[in-house]
Symmetry: C2
Subunit: 197 residues, 2 copies
């Protein structure tokens, strides 16, 4: 059972965007990509649509797609929306503290080995746990749709952003959830906004 080709293509394109192989503003020609990857135009189109929903590319009818230049303003928007979503999530339901602690543990482990992407994905997993615990599947899918992992990598590469995922930052949140602190949602929001550029 092979996974759909379009998923591979999407990953390839994502990788190119994250690493900067595709320059901002550059045109993405469907047939060119297809030829490079040895596939046909159709799955490339579908992959591009998914990237468009992540706002990594922009396209208009009959004119094709191009790499969207990433600005600080974009990042600010992402953090604002993310903060609102997670605050909402925290109001709807509290996560299991054990799960959060597991994520902070793997965050520390990744930091210890100096794994950048390990830290990023552990940090993301911590927050995803909170959103999932809301019990609202739509909220989770909207949150997933933000593509936070990609944006985080982009912000690090493009803006030399500090890697701000560290276990200490998350401890107050864990404590707030443990004690059922009614201010947890607000804390979470501020925590996220403090990361915004």
């Amino acid at each position: 059972m092979r996974s759909p080709l379009r998923d591979d293509i999407r990953r390839q394109l994502l990788d190119g965007l994250i690493t900067g192989r595709w320059a901002p503003g550059e045109r993405i020609v469907e047939r060119r990509v297809a030829a490079d990857l040895g596939v046909s135009q159709a799955p490339v189109r579908e992959a591009l649509r998914e990237l468009e929903s992540l706002r990594l590319i922009e396209s208009s009818p009959n004119k094709g797609a191009r790499v969207r230049p990433v600005t600080r303003a974009d990042l600010r928007e992402v953090y604002q929306v993310r903060a609102g979503l997670e605050e909402t999530a925290a109001r709807l339901g509290a996560p299991a503290v054990e799960a959060l602690e597991a994520h902070t543990a793997s965050l520390e482990a990744a930091a210890a080995t100096g794994s950048l992407s390990g830290q990023v994905s552990a940090g993301i997993a911590f927050h995803r746990e909170i959103v999932a615990a809301s019990g609202n599947a739509l909220l989770l899918s909207v949150w997933d749709g933000l593509g936070l992992e990609v944006w985080t990598h982009l912000s690090i590469r493009v803006f030399r952003a500090e890697l701000h995922e560290n276990a200490a930052d998350h401890q107050p949140l864990v404590d707030a959830f443990r004690t059922g602190d009614p201010q947890a949602p607000g804390l979470l929001r501020d925590h996220i906004l403090s990361y915004a550029p």
Copy 2:
């Protein structure tokens, strides 16, 4: 300059879903739709992807798409997420009161002529104005991505939901924005949640 075929197809499918021509759980066969509409399979696939992102259909690899049964729980989730998004929007920036009043006016006009879809879309436009005024384009696009107009029509048809869009409900919100009331975001959230089933 014709608009893309896929847009027409999406509209046709949407209409079928809203009116119930497609029954919940029913399989949506790409070639069948294509043949019915006199087009080929490709644009139908693309249209289906868009419907999937609206969570109106569900699909899995190699197994195709089927109409997603709409439950009250789905609607609750939509309202919760929507409330969170609009609260966030209201915190980020206040809309122009004149614009809001224009929307309530057209809401009243639609109510006067008994136009159901007119009332729905005026009600949606009122809220969209608020989200747009946040200045956060991502927030607006996420909000748009909820497909509220479709969900509203569905809730009315499937659950015989009351049409709760009326100008009087919106007046306190307009007043709060006019006076710069810091509680406006919270009012807005409660306003939306009060509509949830």
